[in-house]
């Protein structure tokens, strides 16, 4: 049924199977395309746009764009890199990301991508400095949406893996946020063993497990050991 599709990423010939997205085919071939909202095991969403590539000269999100015979994909060009840097910066500036005191520091994909893209100090844009309440109502889980990047991984994990509906988007525009299915987290059916709140589902420090903070020493943290994009599977 599935047939082989031959195309190129940055001039390198890739063989994928029909029905794959560019991202999937690239992953299989061991080529890393930066991403935040996409994670293996969940349906792609195409919202962070960090995985933007050029396909035959036109920009597209590689996590949702299917492969096709003969397409030429640009991934690591200066232009694409600049787009990605801007997008990662936007996410920093949109929320409150104070890496030195964040529990997720060292395993945060936003931070890791910033380093990979050469952003040491995100200062290009103005800081929006949102002031959103922290939801610490649940005995085991804490939610600090000031650090949320709207990737929706928790929403999809809850629906697709846990078969629940703990999280969901509310609001629109710059006020779009992740809401919970109840008055607060304590009034939902979330459980500490849910995939939605597992380490690695939230790419940043928005969903925090209580009583186990800062568990890896600096130097031993996830991305200290393997900077993002240096292993086949990053998340």
């Amino acid at each position: 049924m599935s047939k082989t599709v031959v195309f190129k990423i940055d001039g390198v010939e890739i063989r994928g199977t029909s029905g794959q997205t560019i991202m999937e085919a690239a992953d299989k071939a061991g080529i890393y395309i930066p991403r935040l909202c996409d994670v293996e095991g969940l349906d792609p969403q195409g919202s962070c746009r960090v995985c933007t590539v050029k396909v035959n000269g036109r920009t597209a999100a590689s996590c949702t764009q299917p492969i096709a015979d003969g397409i030429e994909v640009e991934n690591e060009t200066m232009e694409i890199r600049n787009f990605r840097r801007d997008l990662v910066r936007m996410l920093f500036h949109e929320g409150n990301h104070l890496c030195p005191c964040c529990e997720a520091s060292g395993r945060c994909e936003l931070q890791a991508l910033a380093y990979r893209l050469g952003i040491l100090q995100p200062d290009k844009y103005p800081y929006l400095q949102p002031v959103r309440p922290v939801d610490a109502s649940h005995p085991d889980i804490m939610l600090d949406t000031n650090r949320c990047i709207r990737c929706g991984r928790c929403i999809r994990a809850s629906r697709q893996l846990d078969h629940k509906n703990v999280f969901g988007y509310i609001g629109r525009g710059i006020n779009k946020q992740v809401g919970v299915d109840g008055k607060d987290l304590a009034h939902t059916d979330v459980h500490i063993d849910d995939k939605a709140v597992a380490l690695g589902t939230c790419p940043v420090g928005c969903i925090i497990q209580k009583r186990r903070g800062f568990f890896d020493a600096i130097g031993q943290r996830k991305f200290d050991l393997h900077p993002i994009g240096t292993k086949e599977k990053d998340s």
């Binding site: 792609p44 969403q45 195409g46 919202s47 962070c48 746009r49 960090v50 933007t52 920009t59 999100a61 949702t64 764009q65 299917p66 600049n82 787009f83 801007d86 997008l87 936007m90 996410l91 500036h93 949109e94 844009y125 103005p126 929006l128 990047i149 709207r150 509906n165 703990v166 999280f167 969901g168 988007y169 509310i170 609001g171 629109r172 525009g173 710059i174 006020n175 779009k176 809401g179 919970v180 299915d181 109840g182």
Partner: protein
């Protein structure tokens, strides 16, 4: 009635169908005045979805509210044309007379006052919606009278003392709206268009022949994107499926556009005829007209037209006696979201979801409404379809230019003597149009609304067609006294308000664009800020997920190219390494507030600040 009863009735009216959530929410809000926590919980229980999904939908649409609003909601249209026509002065009067500010509700629970995006009345600005009643040409004096009437009667329908022309005077419409048809072309606004002649001809042909006829005419979508209509029909028809859908996009939200309002008022039958032909062509039994909430005043009239067509055998079973051809249309109300004019967002909205665009591919012609092949076309496009089947593709292709066949409806507004709707053949020069509409001192013409193209004086020789200045219909005219930077800033505010927030560049980037644009406007920018604007614009345009993000920065880039001197005259030059863009007074404001005193150096009077 208590909340549970209202919700139960509303949900059962739409078969407890999650896909009809927008209708359910309207029903609940109309009865309760809001959709609060309790109502959301009740709806969630009835239609068996999670509460957070209901909240997600309610909080997405600007016409839905979780907080109780006044019995009468006054929504003032704040597009740039209405602002230039004086809506802000009118707002002040309303505010004073009602004793509430914008965004507030009066203590007695009778009135709410707010701003809303373009309501499609720019040719009779300033305008407002009072619940579903449209009020046009408001002046500060008439605003006083309006509030008096409302306070006395609490009945917005009492505000209509004089009805408009044409079907605006129809008992089911009775609106003070005027059509302002200034020029009738031969395709859409001509008098004496034979009823259902196109449908009759279509049913004599096979489906592929109908599609071929449309393809041969060269018709391209009238909503703005200009996709070849015949091709779209063909793609939908070719996709294997047990059902296909025909959707009419009557969510005319582009600021300055109101031509669909006129078609909906004067050519409703022609629209439905076009949809029926499309249904026959692609093999569909079900159609939807997605009507924007701002045009709710037209809904009873449109429903009656549909009913008449059912009675006449033009909708329903075996249409016009054609065995096996069945088709019907329902009207889906929107709820205040510009993004729903984007076809895949419109489909999301029809499915009862947040009005967010879908990932493409697959395109709607392959997987659209309820995952079935769907064609979404503009109101005007369906009218053209009906006319092409009536008069033939050669007739249609003979009008306009080679790449842009037929006529185009233009909604002209702003600084001109004769704002209104003009039906012109494609290929008309901007300058010719300006003459036609009586624009005396035009300096800027914004063709295609906020997402369109800004045309300055030196480019008035450009032609309105797909290959030059393309437009969904809006033409906004600004005279030489208008401030181009304020216009651009206004468009950016509009896009920031209307971004769905799905993707990063549109959600965040537009906010940053506006921040820097304001810096330019207020004279604190330096030349590096213009590079910043260009650079940021590029990232937003190249990485956004849909057309909203990719067109939002156009006004900035166009205006920088067309009016470089305006920009440079607003710049400060840095001297001695001091940042010219640094606003010391703004920076001091926060310190003043925290320290509760003024500055010894920067304020004339130093000391405690009494607040």
């Amino acid at each position: 009635m208590n909340i549970t009863t209202v919700v139960k009735q509303a949900c059962s009216k739409f078969g407890n169908d999650r896909g009809r959530l927008i209708d359910i929410l309207w029903e609940v809000q109309n009865n309760l005045g809001c959709i609060d926590e309790q109502a959301m919980n009740a709806i969630a229980a009835e239609v068996k979805v999670h509460r957070v999904e209901i909240e997600g939908v309610v909080s997405f649409y600007s016409f839905f509210s979780e907080k109780r609003k006044g019995k009468i909601i006054i929504r003032l249209c704040d597009d740039v044309i209405d602002i230039n026509a004086g809506i802000e002065q009118v707002a002040t009067v309303f505010s004073e007379e009602l004793g509430i500010g914008i965004g507030q509700t009066s203590a007695d629970g009778n009135f709410s006052l707010e701003y809303t995006a373009c309501i499609g009345m720019s040719d009779q600005a300033p305008a407002a919606l009072v619940n579903n009643v449209v009020i046009t040409n408001i002046t500060p004096a008439s605003a006083k009278e309006i509030t008096r009437t409302l306070k006395d009667t609490l009945d917005p329908s009492k505000l209509v003392t004089k009805v408009g022309d044409g079907n605006n005077a129809h008992t089911l419409v009775s609106a003070m709206v005027r059509n302002n048809i200034r020029k009738q072309g031969e395709v859409l606004l001509a008098d004496g268009i034979p009823a259902d002649a196109g449908l009759g001809n279509a049913l004599k042909k096979t489906s592929p022949e109908v599609i071929q006829e449309i393809a041969d005419s060269g018709l391209r979508g009238r909503g703005g994107a200009g996709f070849p209509t015949g091709e779209k029909f063909k793609l939908a028809q070719r996709t294997e499926a047990d059902q296909r859908y025909v959707i009419c996009n009557a969510d005319e939200g582009e600021p300055g556009t109101f031509k669909d309002r006129v078609l909906l008022t004067e050519r409703p039958s022609l629209i439905f005829e076009g949809m029926t032909i499309a249904a026959y062509a692609i093999g569909s039994t079900s159609g939807i007209m997605y009507l924007r909430a701002e045009y709710a005043y037209l809904r009873p009239f449109l429903e009656s037209v549909l009913e008449n067509r059912r009675q006449a055998g033009l909708l329903g079973k075996d249409i016009c006696g054609k065995k096996g051809f069945c088709f019907d249309i329902r009207i889906q109300m929107g709820a205040g979201a510009y993004i729903c004019g984007e076809e895949s967002a419109l489909i999301s909205s029809c499915e009862g979801l947040r009005g967010e665009p879908k990932n493409r591919p697959p395109f709607p012609v392959e997987r659209g409404y309820l995952s079935k092949p769907t064609i979404v076309n503009n109101v005007e496009t369906f009218c053209c379809v009906a006319r092409i089947l009536d008069r033939g593709s050669n007739w249609f292709a003979g009008i306009g230019t080679k790449a842009s066949r037929g006529t185009k409806l233009l909604s002209v507004c702003g600084d001109c003597a004769r704002p209104g709707v003009y039906e012109v053949p494609y290929g008309l020069e901007v300058a010719e149009l300006l003459d036609m509409v009586g624009a005396e001192d035009p300096a800027i013409v914004q063709v295609g609304g906020a997402s369109g193209e800004m045309v300055g004086r030196s480019s008035f020789g450009r032609k309105i067609c797909f290959s030059d200045v393309a437009t969904g219909g809006a033409v906004m005219i600004f005279n030489s006294h208008r401030n181009v930077l304020a216009i651009v800033d206004h468009f950016l505010k509009f896009f920031a308000d209307e971004s769905c927030g799905y993707c990063t560049p549109c959600r965040v980037g537009i906010v940053f664009l506006r921040e820097r644009m304001q810096k330019v406007m207020h004279g604190f920018a330096e030349s590096a800020d213009l590079d910043y604007l260009r650079d940021l614009s590029k990232t937003i345009m190249m990485t956004s997920r849909c057309g909203l993000g990719s067109s939002a920065p156009k006004a900035i880039l166009n205006s920088m190219d067309q009016f470089p001197l305006v920009y440079s005259s607003h710049l400060r030059e840095a001297k001695d390494g001091v940042q010219a863009g640094f606003n010391i007074q703004k920076a001091l404001d926060e310190s003043r507030r925290i320290a509760k005193r003024t500055s010894m150096i920067y304020d004339p009077v130093y000391g405690e600040k009494n607040e």
